[in-house]
């Protein structure tokens, strides 16, 4: 019987104070195929008590804000995706 289960690798980068919360600068996390951003949301809450969405956390999937993707938290993940988490920025 063919095994269709596949793991998607997603790189999550914790910037500025999010690194303090997660206790790391980045990690590669594995999610089952078919996972969405919501899976990352649950993972972050479970592992680090980081709750998304949060206006105090900018969440960027592959260079675009999470809510800029048409399916928002239901956006499917793909192998090699990058997620950035950082506090709101406001110009230097």
């Amino acid at each position: 019987m063919e095994n269709n289960y596949r793991v998607i690798s997603v790189q999550i980068k914790y910037l500025v104070n999010l690194a303090d919360k997660a206790g790391r600068l980045s990690e590669t996390a594995g999610f089952p195929s078919g996972s969405t951003l919501e899976s990352v949301q649950k993972y972050l809450q479970q592992m680090y008590d980081i709750k998304l969405p949060d206006p105090g956390i900018m969440t960027v999937l592959n260079g675009r804000g999470w809510n800029q993707h048409p399916e928002k938290m239901n956006t499917p993940l793909a192998d090699g995706d990058t997620i950035l988490l950082f506090p709101p920025i406001a110009g230097g």
Partner: protein, 610 residues
């Protein structure tokens, strides 16, 4: 009483003439405050009235306008901002520049909302303004000295380290057009206002006043302050810990970091110049504006190595430009370059950007060690950066040309156009506009050149609002206009943009701060006032000959795809940029050359002001 406002204003302007050594005062009409608030808005009105298009930056007829806002000096967090407006030596046109420090506060404690400095002294002079009395003082012993020494000397003159002091460095004395004005320990950085001081042989100004600033409802203001402090302590911890250096990491990861003279948008050495490096190896303390619990000023000190002893207040923009844009990953060198600019009198941003230009020209073989007095001006070389900055400040070698700023360089070498990165003569801030298309419009339509503050900083909205894709064109015109108007009113209030949210000064202003301060129902009018100010400033630009072509971005941003990093391959074409510009002009009610249309003048109630 020169004003009918119950607080925040005096309705009084101080006028000082350096040529005739004369002093006068005059009333500021209440209607200017009603329509333009104060600070940047009223300074623009004075500029409109008094500095015509025929006036050149170093002419005797150019003026230095300093204006406080209605909140400046009030017991509110970081209510310290004031405005300088003048004709810019760097761009040849209108300049507005906003700064903290104590200048605005002490002007108001002397009973003035602002002052205009005109004429030219015949020998190095500083102005002493004590309790409103003006003295013209010999500054010959201050000439040639570094800014920190002169600031301390000026404090000594009035016997108070809590007075307000402005000065310029040796570069300004040599009329280097990228010279800044040092204000206490802050800076009026952009546009070369320092060189206007130099042209007037004005080495400094020291102001000390002790009068009361009227407040309409002091009890309410105290309540607002208490609430704002609580909000700021809860929400601005990152600013206190890291300052604006915290933006290095996200901006680099987003592929927006100017690198090696804007050749690419990701700096591979970013981790060595980010907030972690600053905090763990260099941070020696914080500096705060008066009554600000955030204290976002981050002091970095070099403790070892060739730059040992260097000390500077580091900011995102300085690190991005002196670091990544010069290819430098040695944080100690960035701190040393920052301090060198501060002391010699150079704007860190224009200084860093022009050093990056020199490095690119050198690496392309377009300039050689014969031009640089032997400096191997290569990206990544910290000592070379310091040596180049010194050449600029002292007008030695190719520094004499670079001291003329981007426009002067292009006039002498039009063939260098592909490498000279500027809009209207001002080099950009530390964001590559190919990374966020709203930011492209920001640079193009900022009234003082490629500035992220005056032009409207869009990046957060383009990432977080959910309304605007960073690489989309549609909607960016109204977005940039909204942020510009927002900024224009905040710059006119006299408070810092970092704290404004704690008092509900947003794109949809709420709260009662203005009513408590002035007794006048300003809050619901603030955005309209911001829009009025921005169009008034644009009318000044039009009068100075600026048109659509002056709003265009340099060729690098419109012809070169990003060659590496997270947004590799991203392209912003001239056609795309023109689409952005069309939508923006249309939102503003300006015609397709960027001229404010008659109907817009009327709808913004500008008719009575011009």
């Amino acid at each position: 009483m020169a004003t009918s406002f119950k607080g925040g204003y005096f309705g009084k302007l101080l006028r000082v003439n350096l040529s005739t050594k004369s002093v006068s005062t005059e009333e500021i009409p209440d209607v200017w405050f009603e329509k333009l608030l104060g600070g940047r808005g009223v300074a623009a009105k004075i500029y409109y009235n008094e500095i015509g298009p025929e006036v050149k930056p170093f002419d005797e007829e150019n003026k230095i306008i300093l204006m406080a806002g209605p909140l400046t000096g009030l017991p509110l967090p970081a209510a310290t901002k004031f405005q300088l407006s003048t004709k810019s030596p760097e761009t040849g046109g209108y300049l507005c520049s906003n700064c903290s420090g104590r200048v605005g506060t002490h002007l108001k404690r002397c009973g003035f909302d602002g002052m205009v400095i005109e004429g030219k002294a015949d020998a190095w002079t500083y102005l002493k303004i004590e309790e409103g009395e003006v003295s013209f003082c010999d500054a010959s012993e201050m000439a040639g000295k570094k800014t920190s020494e002169v600031i301390d000397s000026l404090y000594d003159v009035v016997g108070s380290r809590k007075a307000a002091a402005l000065t310029v460095g040796p570069s300004a004395e040599r009329l280097v057009k990228i010279s800044y004005v040092a204000v206490d320990r802050r800076a009026l950085g952009r546009g070369g206002a320092g060189a206007v001081f130099g042209s007037k042989k004005l080495k400094g100004v020291v102001i000390r006043g002790s009068g009361e600033i009227p407040v309409a409802d002091r009890k309410k203001v105290d309540e607002i302050r208490t609430k704002a402090y609580k909000i700021l302590r809860e929400t601005r911890a990152n600013h206190t810990k890291y300052g604006t250096a915290q933006y290095i990491q996200p901006i680099n990861e987003l592929g927006c970091m100017p690198t090696r003279n804007f050749q690419t948008t990701y700096f591979e050495g970013g981790d060595q110049i980010n907030h972690i490096t600053l905090f763990e190896k260099f941070k020696s303390g914080n500096s705060a504006c008066d009554r600000c619990p955030v204290a976002c000023g981050t002091i970095a000190e070099v403790k070892e190595g060739p730059f040992k002893g260097a000390r500077a207040r580091t900011e995102y923009e300085n690190i991005g430009i002196l670091g990544a844009n010069c290819g430098i990953s040695d944080f100690a060198a960035v701190v040393a370059a920052n301090q060198l600019c501060d002391e010699l009198g150079l704007d860190t941003m224009s200084g860093g950007n022009l050093a990056a230009l020199a490095m690119e020209l050198f690496e392309r073989g377009l300039i050689t060690t014969n031009d640089t007095e032997g400096i191997e001006a290569r990206f990544g070389d910290g000592q070379a950066l310091l040596d180049l900055l010194t050449l600029f400040a002292e007008r030695r070698g190719i520094g004499d040309l670079f001291a003329e700023g981007a426009l002067g360089i292009l006039e002498a070498h039009p063939e260098w156009k592909p490498y000279v990165i500027h809009v209207k003569g001002l080099t950009p801030a530390a964001y590559d506009p190919r990374g966020f298309y709203g930011n492209a419009l920001t640079y193009g339509t900022s009234v003082r050149g490629a500035c992220h503050n005056v032009g409207g900083w869009t990046i957060r909205a383009e990432l977080q609002s959910g309304q605007y894709d960073r690489f989309a064109l549609e909607g960016k015109g109204p977005l940039v206009m909204s942020i510009q108007d927002n900024r224009a009113y905040v710059d006119s209030l006299g408070i810092c943009t970092v704290v404004r949210g704690s008092m509900d000064f947003s794109a949809d202003p709420k709260g009662e701060t203005m009513e408590a301060a002035t007794g006048y129902p300003f809050t619901s009018k603030l955005i309209e006032i911001g829009s009025r100010i921005y169009s008034l400033e644009r009318m000044i630009l039009s009068r100075e000959g600026k048109k659509r072509q002056d709003d265009m971005l340099p060729p690098r941003f419109l012809t070169e795809p990003v060659p590496s990093g997270p947004i590799k391959g991203q392209v912003l074409t001239e056609e795309m940029y023109n689409t952005l510009l069309d939508e923006y002009y249309n939102s503003r009610g300006w015609d397709n050359e960027g001229v404010v249309q008659k109907e817009t003048v009327e709808s913004l109630e500008l008719t009575a002001l011009i």
